[in-house]
């Protein structure tokens, strides 16, 4: 059960982190769309970094 609960907590924490990031961007004066784009860019760049890391590891 604890592995399941850890996973639930991880998803919850991930949502909470994104929520804080989004509210911070909105507090900086960005529009909801701009804040959303900024978040999506952050997600894709972290995804790119992970992909680059795994590719270099394979090489």
């Amino acid at each position: 059960m604890s592995a399941v609960l850890r996973k639930v907590r991880a998803i919850y924490a991930r949502l909470e982190r994104e929520n804080r990031r989004l509210l911070r961007l909105l507090a900086q004066g960005l529009t909801p769309r701009q804040a959303e784009r900024r978040l999506m860019r952050g997600q894709s760049s972290s995804g790119d970094a992970k992909r680059r890391k795994s590719t270099s590891r394979r090489r």
Partner: protein, 222 residues
Amino acid sequence: MRLADGRTLDDDELLALWRHGRHLATRYCRGSLARLRSGAGGFYEVDDFWQDAFLAFCQVVAEWQALGRPTDDLWRRWGLALWGQGIHILRRAPQRLWSGVQSTTDSGQAVDGEPAVVQKQPQRPGQPRLTGSESARRSAEQNALALDRLDDLEGRLWRLRPLQRQALYMAALQHMPAAKVASRLGLRDRREAYRLVENARRRLRRSGVMPTAHARRPRGRV
């Protein structure tokens, strides 16, 4: 989870507290658990209840830690959170189960000041009694299945637009009314919050994560 003294409560400490919290929840919500086990919750099953109960417990622990009170206070708060056989958890979105507190009572328990419970359900005829190793294997299988479902849910959630995901998170997990979600997210009005949540629900439903039928929703909630 951050404590009053700035230290972060690690997973093992939280899970150690949860072991007792779960034990209390099993006692206090026995009737609800029996109903869920018999299928009265529809798509919402016992595992779903335990996941929601755990999140509710995390919130109670965070509030308790912020106040720096003794451990007894945590269990008092957790007992209050489980009032009415855990009806606060069962009524939450999206499950919104059972509009009233269960009326089944056990007078002996009620006199002791503990929440009312239903009698233990007898074993179904024809249902084989599980041995220890069989039960452990089944439990491991159920855990693996639950982890797969959670992985799937996480993947699908992260395929939503961030505003949809956050509107859904604030409405369903933080229990915010639509007007508040709209003001926090800088949306024009609450109708835009409704639309974001509805689109998120529709996309998750299409992908099989959300149930297709919903109970009636209270006014002002998304």
